[in-house]
């Protein structure tokens, strides 16, 4: 890497070399049986340069073919955007615990056993369910060096356990699933099984729902499928810079219900998206996005921040290209409402666990419209059964503006977001009934 940096410095004003390697071992169960063990090794090397004021970018997996990497970066720098940022000099990074050697040393046999236990717990409850289960361990190593003397590196371990079950009765299909991830090895399949079994119980009966405005409780996973795609775009510094974020010019204004708090936090110990620095070597920080309903900050990488006249929030992420702002781990603060009390208060309404297709509409504008893939009807304060062939539509900014209630218990969803339940007093529901 030092070699490439030295060569790049001869042809460019600034240069940065980024290398990431990963070793991933997924153990996969298909139709309740062990089916597949994989071992995936990958390394990629990325070069970003600033040449005659413009950004050039190239990447390769061939660590010894550095000349073509430099040639490609120079070729693209002819047309690249003007660099407005300065690469970070040597910095002090916070100590974030994200590596547990016990992940790497977990034997495959132990992973197989974990998967078998999970399948057994679920099939014991519902013998005719067909489960796909995945147990994965991964070690990621990352290093960045740049022409200003900046240098950062870390190792991370990730362990995840997921299960997806399908239960088919006639032409009725029910899909239930859950996943957990951590930088520690996971050892408790019971926690996942309990969640899945709860849904299997709730979905035993079916219920119909009229087409009208109804109160809705979004479960933690429901919150992610309905609200998060729009909010992630709206708080992205790039969307704000372009003037396309509906909240872009409302910094410091009360846009949401005062009960709502949201922040981005890559510093939580042992979370899979935590890290001491971002992919540009900027130290990690906790960034409040919504405080008491007020828009508090947007997320930035170096270039976007420079163009917007502000500072990077340490949210520069690389996803096969130049760094761009994106959230790490999002947290919505729990409130005071108990889930059972929320259900008790509803005469007729829905509990939504998962929407399908909600990210397909005018996400930028905050609209969502999705099929209730997993959701339940509430009648007179009780969950009475699963609803199907039902669509709900709403707008994030209208729904979260006022009158919501926030659950008292937060849950991790898909490993990257922690949120409680959110109650919305009125949502448009359309159903075949």
């Amino acid at each position: 890497m030092e070699n490439i940096l030295a060569q790049a410095k001869r042809v460019a004003e600034e240069a940065e070399v980024f290398m990431v390697s990963s070793e991933e071992t997924p153990v996969q169960f298909e139709a309740n049986r062990l089916k597949h063990i994989q071992s995936k090794q990958s390394t990629s090397l990325t070069l970003r340069i600033v040449r005659q004021g413009r950004i050039g970018y190239a990447a390769t997996t061939e660590l010894n073919n550095t000349q073509s990497l430099i040639d490609n970066a120079m070729a693209t720098a002819q047309f690249g955007m003007r660099a407005k940022f300065e690469l970070p000099a040597k910095a002090a990074y916070p100590q974030i615990d994200i590596f547990d050697p016990n992940v790497e040393s977990t034997p495959i046999e132990k992973m197989i056993q974990l998967g078998e236990e999970l399948v057994a717990l679920i099939t014991e409850h519902t013998p005719d369910i067909v489960c796909e289960t995945m147990v994965t361990k991964e070690i990621i190593s990352l290093r960045i060096i740049n022409s200003r003397g900046g240098e950062a590196s870390y190792r991370k371990s990730i362990f995840s356990l997921s299960m997806w079950g399908s239960l088919i009765r006639g032409t009725d299909m029910l899909f239930v699933g859950e996943m957990q991830s951590s930088c520690h090895p996971l050892t408790q399949p019971k926690e996942i099984a309990a969640v899945v079994i709860q849904h299997l119980e709730l979905a035993k009966n079916q219920a119909s729902v009229p087409s009208k405005q109804l109160p809705v409780i979004f479960t933690p996973r429901g919150v992610v499928s309905a609200f998060i795609p729009s909010l992630m775009m709206a708080f992205n510094g790039k969307t704000v810079l372009e003037g396309a974020s509906p909240i872009g010019n409302r910094l410091g204004e009360k846009v949401f219900d005062p009960k709502l708090w949201l922040w981005d936090d890559p510093t939580i110990a042992y979370r899979p998206n935590s890290r001491p620095c971002d992919d540009e070597g900027i130290p990690s920080q906790r960034t409040p996005l919504i405080e008491q309903g007020t828009v508090a900050n947007f997320l930035y990488d170096l270039q976007t921040a420079a163009l917007a006249g502000t500072k990077s929030t340490g949210n520069g992420n690389r996803d096969g290209g130049l760094p761009a702002p994106s959230p790490t781990t999002l947290v919505i603060a729990p409130g005071k409402a108990n889930f059972d009390d929320m259900v008790n208060d509803i005469k007729e309404g829905l509990v939504i666990e998962q929407l399908m297709g909600a990210e397909q509409g005018n996400v930028l504008g905050g609209d969502f419209s999705g099929n209730v893939l997993l959701g339940y009807k509430v009648e007179n304060g009780k969950i009475v059964g699963r609803v199907k062939d039902t669509m709900v539509s709403g707008n994030v900014y209208q729904l979260l503006k006022e009158g919501i209630a926030i659950g008292s218990e937060a849950k991790w969803v898909w490993g990257f977001l922690q949120t409680p339940h959110i109650y919305c007093p009125s949502l448009s529901v359309a159903s075949k009934g």
Binding site: L34, M173, M356
Partner: protein
């Protein structure tokens, strides 16, 4: 770059030295470039080279898979894959038999997109961006161009050695209009099997896209409920992919007794006029190839013929376990993944109705065009239109904001009651399944009419 043909020969030797029920290996080298504009400016431009490979072994019905881009110690990789497979295998290995094939398949395009100078690609994108920005009230825009070329070597313990080349181009554009805190977005997606001309000359649709985004600021949102809907060929292609295509992928079905009973051949899904095909063997489309990633020759497979389920898509394993013929539909997005059963070019065959006939007797309905997205959970699925209009008294009426439609595979296909004569293939899509996305596919259909379709709205 490293010569993967030389590595291929070493790997073929290594595979011979280990014993398993079956071993295969793939090696891949690829070049990719991308150019992205956000707003008026070019934002990102880059070139990426990659080399990698994998070994997959089957022992007593269990699979081991090792992927790598470090090409050292190839025998060690074969050994690890076999060892993993042994750890899994507890039954009998079943693979549908295929003849060993030795072949070299070059790309058949005049001009490799990765060799076109960046300046020439940029010139075209600059023209499109200038057109977008001629539109008043436009807030921002995105243009994302990408091209790739890859060479893949497939070899197996049964003696196959196939070298195939593959080129691909994608172009996605979107325009965002904003006014008084309201934001509306319209997109356009195109692609081709490496032919740069396919994305040339799009000035008129690009201009329409930008203007339509502005129009939507004053458009109403549809009221949620059931409507008679008419889908244009692009959206109907997404519909057939989501509504039916995924359910015909046998890896969902073969180990699931209940699903096998539902998806029994001969079951009626639609009207006699409905025919659905998946065909990698049709040349020149984004989902076209000569051999799949298990070295099985591509086929044209009827999924629905005259309304009845007549076929499904297979890998060698699903075909063997269901006692059917392999169809050559095992595909992997790249060397980091094992092949799984995927669609290729999926379409509804044309009927005889004109667009005028199809909308003539609709009193109130929705005409949905262009796609924003689509997804499925087998029984229920959703797909969404980038453009939509009310149909009133047999005529197109006011523009609507984007609509999301949902259906149920067991009823919605049966509700198709008119099929147009104007089949078109859409090459702008990419398919996702099991973390492997976006896989190049194409979808197509003529205009179709569906009764009682549920539309989300206010």
């Amino acid at each position: 770059m490293t010569d993967i043909e030389a590595v291929g020969r070493q790997l073929a030797d290594a595979v011979k030295r280990y014993s398993a029920d079956y071993i295969e290996a793939r090696l891949e080298e690829s070049q990719r470039s991308h150019i992205t504009y956000r707003g008026r400016e070019l934002e990102s431009i880059g070139q990426i080279n990659a080399i990698g490979g994998n070994v997959r072994a089957l022992v007593k019905g269990g699979w081991g898979f090792v992927s790598f881009n470090n090409l050292a110690d190839l025998p060690g990789k074969v050994e690890l894959a076999v060892k993993q497979a042994r750890l899994v295998g507890r039954e009998e290995s079943k693979l549908a038999p295929v003849e060993p094939i030795v072949d070299i398949v070059p790309t058949k395009i005049d001009k490799e997109p990765t060799t076109i100078p960046l300046a020439e690609k940029k010139r075209l994108l600059d023209e499109y961006n200038a057109l977008i920005w001629r539109t008043p009230k436009l807030q921002t825009s995105v243009i994302a161009y990408g091209d790739s070329h890859k060479k893949v070597i497939f070899l197996s313990s049964s003696g196959s050695y196939i070298q195939q080349e593959w080129s691909d181009i994608t172009l996605r554009l979107s325009a965002v209009a904003a006014e008084d805190g309201d934001v509306q977005q319209v997109g356009l997606s195109l692609g081709s099997r490496g032919d740069f001309n396919a994305i040339n000359g799009l000035h008129q649709p690009v201009e329409h896209m930008a203007k339509h985004a502005v129009e939507l600021l004053s458009a109403p949102q549809v009221k949620g409920g059931e409507y008679t809907i008419v889908l244009d060929p692009v959206l109907a292609g997404v519909f057939v992919h989501e509504a039916f295509g995924h359910l015909s992928e046998s890896d969902f079905v073969y180990e699931n007794e209940r699903l096998r009973q539902i998806m029994v051949l001969g079951k009626r899904f639609g009207d006699k006029a409905l025919n659905v095909v998946d065909s990698a063997a049709t040349p020149g489309l984004r989902g076209s190839y000569k051999y799949d990633d298990e070295g099985v020759p591509a086929t044209k497979t009827y999924l629905i013929r005259e309304g009845e389920l007549v076929g499904r898509l297979h890998s060698r394993e699903t075909a063997a376990k269901m006692g059917e013929k392999p169809t050559g539909n095992a595909r992997a997005i790249n060397y980091r993944f094992p092949p799984i059963v995927r669609m290729t070019n999926t379409y509804i065959e044309p009927g005889s109705a004109s667009f005028g006939d199809i909308i003539a007797d609709i009193k109130e309905g929705v005409y949905a065009k262009n796609w924003l997205g689509g997804t499925t959970a087998m029984e229920m699925f959703t797909f969404s239109a980038g453009e939509a209009y009310m149909i009133r008294n047999g005529k197109l009426a006011e523009a609507l904001r984007p609509v999301v439609l949902t259906g149920n595979v067991f009823t919605t296909l049966n509700n198709i009651d008119a099929i147009g004569n104007d089949l078109e293939m859409n090459e702008g899509g990419g398919c996702g399944k099991g973390m492997q996305a976006p896989l190049p596919v194409s979808n197509g259909s003529p205009h179709i009419r569906i009764r009682h379709c549920l539309v989300g709205g206010r």
